[in-house]
Symmetry: C2
Subunit: 117 residues, 2 copies
Amino acid sequence: MTFAPTPSCTEAGLPEPAPMTVARIAEIGKALAHPARVRIVNLFRICHPHKVQDIVEECDLAQSTISEHLRILREADVVFASRDGPRTWYCLRRSVLREYVKAIEELQSTDELLLLA
Amino acid sequence: MTFAPTPSCTEAGLPEPAPMTVARIAEIGKALAHPARVRIVNLFRICHPHKVQDIVEECDLAQSTISEHLRILREADVVFASRDGPRTWYCLRRSVLREYVKAIEELQSTDELLLLA
DNA sequence: TTCGTGAATCGTCGATAAGCGATAGGGACC
DNA sequence: GGTCCCTATCGCTTATCGACGATTCACGAA
């Protein structure tokens, strides 16, 4: 299996994700609020683009269900998709998860002031 | 207003939270998947115990709704409650949020291996 | 143009979540 | 006991989620 013609995982050129407000934190939390979606994100730890069919095979769920989970992750900007001919490649937006982590850290740290809208 | 007879925010003596599996990550994500609950956690950044009534006044939601949100946070072990006479004090379980953050970091880091059940 | 393949969307269903008012329970205090 | 205060729980309605099969759409290849 070769990944030669696949797009890269770089986030360069993607639109800026929304700033970390209370609503945005909740949005990402919701995207990560289902075991299947956590599992999908964990699959993406290995940094190369993933096809939908690969994920379906890993997760033991119907293709339409996986597609729906990917849509939720995509709309929360946790992953991004790029078309390559007939198929879609998915990659993590690591920067978004990093910002989420930072926000949760600030949320629970006692000595940093954070003004959340 | 005095906090003199309030219990402390220490987590000492509390039962160990569940280990960080995929299901546990999703559970905490779900607890943080609502703006009101993120807001509540953010209130708790200031490290002293909070009464339910204080939170109600901050959040502009019915007392029963806040009580329900607190139940969800409590069952996910994101906060803990202690009774003091007629009232209940709530505090953050910072250690749980720290572990959650660590799990999300590992989830998205490309070089750490994590075996999630 | 037609066919095949991979992925998204639609339609439907049961289950779960979110919100509120009303009610119940548990202390403290008289 | 009775009363007040604070919080949890109940009962209800509406909204959203999660899952699936069926269908549609987009693209490349024949």
